[in-house]
């Protein structure tokens, strides 16, 4: 029983795929490096990330399926669900074994599961566009801490870059402790040194822009006044706006 160990990056995963195809093997498990979980009776194989190999796998995929379907593999990878790597390896094996694109074969359990996870990841990316709330700081940076269930910031930031092109902003994933900073020109990946901010996303009121609290109050005020009492339906509210987002939602404070 073989276990492949890789570095958790998508390129690393594609190198894993390359290795599996090259050696014509399918591992029992694909695991991240550094997670200490040795298993009895299994053989660990360290897979080194090699961009050239990952690129060959990616280009090979693009010959079998279109760009949108290939991107689906990346998005499913971002779910970080247990054993998603093995599922994706199985899926990619299907991609290469089919004469036509596997995309529509919903009757195949592997294809169905990939579609299902993809739906969940896409929904979470949508949640980012919906529920990110920026706070304006004294140095005119709009800051938003966020806690997505899946690692969806990489696929969400383009939207923010297009929309808020004329303001500096930071969107920070406090679960995975990294974020993106847009400086009016391009978007950079960042990490806060202060581990407290990095984990909580709380910034001190003293560094907020003077008008920030006024806008927060106006928004809360507005939010309250548009609700129609006679139609109250809190379950529907909770269904549409799950509680796990409330922590960073200005109007729910």
């Amino acid at each position: 029983m073989e276990i492949y160990i890789y570095d958790k990056t998508f390129e690393g995963f594609l190198s894993v795929v390359f290795y599996a195809f090259e050696t014509k093997t399918t591992p029992f498990k694909i695991m991240q490096r550094g997670i200490n979980q040795s298993m009895l009776f299994s053989k660990e194989i360290q897979i080194v990330t090699e961009l050239e190999k990952s690129e060959r796998v990616w280009n090979g995929l693009l010959k079998k399926i279109n760009k949108k379907n290939a991107d689906m593999i990346y998005r499913v990878f971002l779910s970080e669900l247990p054993d998603v790597e093995l599922l994706l390896l199985n899926y990619i094996q299907l991609v290469f074994s089919y004469k036509r694109s596997v995309f529509g074969d919903f009757g195949n359990p592997i294809v169905a599961e990939v579609h299902d996870i993809h739906k969940r990841v896409s929904r979470e990316a949508e949640h980012t566009l919906m529920f990110v709330r920026f706070k304006k700081t004294a140095d005119n940076i709009y800051f938003a801490p966020f806690e997505p269930k899946y690692n969806v910031l990489p696929i969400s930031i383009k939207h923010f870059k297009d929309r808020f092109a004329d303001q500096k902003w930071v969107i920070y994933d406090t679960i995975r402790e990294y974020g993106y900073y847009y400086n009016l020109f391009d978007v950079q990946e960042i990490r806060f040194v202060d581990s407290n901010i990095s984990r909580s996303g709380d910034i001190d009121k003293s560094i907020l822009n003077t008008e920030e609290l006024v806008f927060q109050d106006l928004w809360k005020n507005y939010f309250k006044s548009v609700s129609i009492k006679e139609r109250s339906n809190k379950r529907l509210q909770m269904h549409n706006m799950p509680k796990r987002f409330w922590k960073h939602l200005t109007e729910m404070q």
């Binding site: 995309f103 529509g104 074969d105 919903f106 009757g107 195949n108 359990p109 169905a112 579609h115 299902d116 949508e126 566009l129 919906m130 529920f131 990110v132 709330r133 920026f134 706070k135 304006k136 709009y142 938003a144 939207h159 297009d162 929309r163 808020f164 092109a165 004329d166 303001q167 008008e211 006024v214 806008f215 109050d217 106006l218 928004w219 005020n221 507005y222 939010f223 006044s225 548009v226 609700s227 129609i228 009492k229 006679e230 139609r231 109250s232 339906n233 809190k234 379950r235 529907l236 509210q237 269904h239 549409n240 706006m241 939602l249 200005t250 109007e251």
Partner: protein
């Protein structure tokens, strides 16, 4: 922003909230490069109020002063409520301040009628123009077209707004005359016609010159109040069908009447708004627009009102048992869409998946098709199961009406915009 703005926002959001339209979809506007914002084609909800409805736009009135006295409207001149008027500057600052914080997709601006309709329209256009030209704002703008405004003003509005809407409110003319003697259907249909013609004209224009400015790119919508008058679902849905096909409307919204005017005996005394009926009307509307149903198949003279207990597609199936069971491995797309419980997405999946293999119940379940209702109306690659023909429609109805725990109450259009089934 001063204290006054807080009060104004309170008053003018309160008056605007009865307009149920919340869509911010149907338009794709790119950022001009160095301006603020863009509009996503699919529309984004940013929050949900305690009534479960989506908040996508800053929905306010420019003013809630009004020269009219329509019985069903909270801003009617005889109503004793606080009144306020926003300045252009206040509205612009609010919109942009909210937008930059990702609270909203844009502005929905409506108004009471002050001085005269044309003057009112001019004020609304002024705000949109200021946002677009002075502040390079590319977010969503929805403006109310005021019945009675000049063609010129309405055409101006279409150049700055993504969507325009004229609210029909009362579905039939005699009832409108009764509740709003100062209005008539013609004055509402007429601006719709101008907007509709403008949209068609603009399409041709843009074919010749791609740089020609867009006119109302997200189209127009309207709202009908449900339950304030004795109009049947059939007369409401026939009107909707006419508006969709005749006036090319993008959306008709249905708003359950809220008892906001309890003193007026022309209006019914109800305790709760007819939310279930509103929900059924939306479902019927969906059947018409996305499921290739005709209105006669949904409501007719023999059953002019929708069944409140079951959704209209299930109702149709129970009235037409001879069409079933539908073979999911052979039937065409149109027929698969008619299976109760099967939505557009599931239907498309079935069509795709069956080109790979013959589908059975297990496959359907795995791909996310909800079988609770569907199983009585389909056959697939499996031993036959009892369907509507063996069980008889009245029994299928009984089985499906048995209460299930944890049923989510879905009201009106507050549910996510695409998944009504």
């Amino acid at each position: 922003m001063n204290v006054e703005v807080f009060d104004k926002l309170n008053i003018l959001a309160n008056s605007a909230k009865y307009d149920v339209s919340c869509a911010s979809s149907g338009t794709k506007r790119s950022n001009t490069g160095n301006g603020i914002g863009n509009a996503a084609a699919w529309g984004i909800c940013h929050s949900f109020t305690e009534d479960g409805r989506c908040v996508s736009l800053l929905k306010v009135m420019l003013t809630n002063y009004c020269i009219y006295d329509c019985a069903y409207c909270t801003s009617r001149r005889s109503n004793d409520i606080p009144r306020a008027t926003f300045s252009v500057n206040e509205l612009v600052n609010l919109t942009i301040g909210f937008y930059r914080r990702n609270y909203i997709e844009g502005l929905f601006l409506s108004s009471g009628v002050i001085r005269n309709p044309d003057y009112t329209m001019e004020q609304l256009v002024g705000v949109a123009k200021e946002l677009r030209t002075q502040h390079r704002y590319n977010g969503y703008i929805h403006l109310k077209a005021i019945p009675g405004a000049s063609n010129e003003q309405i055409k101006q509005a279409g150049l700055y707004a993504d969507r325009l809407s004229v609210n029909m409110e009362i579905p039939t003319e005699p009832n409108l005359k009764m509740l709003a003697p100062e209005k008539d259907h013609q004055s509402i249909i007429s601006p719709m016609g101008i907007i509709g013609a403008g949209i068609i004209e603009n399409k041709y224009e843009r074919k010749i010159n791609i740089k020609a400015p867009k006119f109302t790119p997200a189209g127009q919508s309207t709202q009908l109040i449900i339950g304030a008058t004795n109009d049947t679902d059939k007369s409401i849905l026939d009107l909707s069908a006419n508006l969709y096909t005749g006036q090319n409307l993008k959306r008709v919204y249905y708003s359950g009447y809220l008892p906001i005017n309890t003193k007026d005996t022309r209006l019914p005394a109800i305790k709760e708004p007819p939310l279930k009926r509103e929900n059924r009307l939306y479902q019927a509307d969906w059947l018409f627009r996305f499921y290739h149903f005709s209105m006669e198949e949904i409501v007719s003279d023999s059953h002019p009102n929708l069944d409140l207990e079951i959704d209209p597609k299930l109702g149709y199936a129970l009235r037409n048992p001879w069409l079933f069971p539908i073979d999911v491995n052979k039937a065409d797309y149109e027929m698969i869409l008619r299976i109760p419980g099967v939505g557009v997405k599931s239907a498309q999946k079935i069509i795709m998946a069956r080109t790979y293999r013959r589908l059975n119940f297990q496959h359907l379940k795995k791909m996310g098709v909800v079988l609770k209702r569907a199983k009585y109306f389909i056959s697939c690659n499996e031993l036959p199961t009892p369907t509507i023909n063996e069980l008889k429609p009245e029994n299928v109805r009984k089985i499906l009406l048995e209460p299930t725990p944890k049923k989510l109450k879905v009201a009106g259009d507050g549910y996510m915009q695409l998944s009504l089934w």
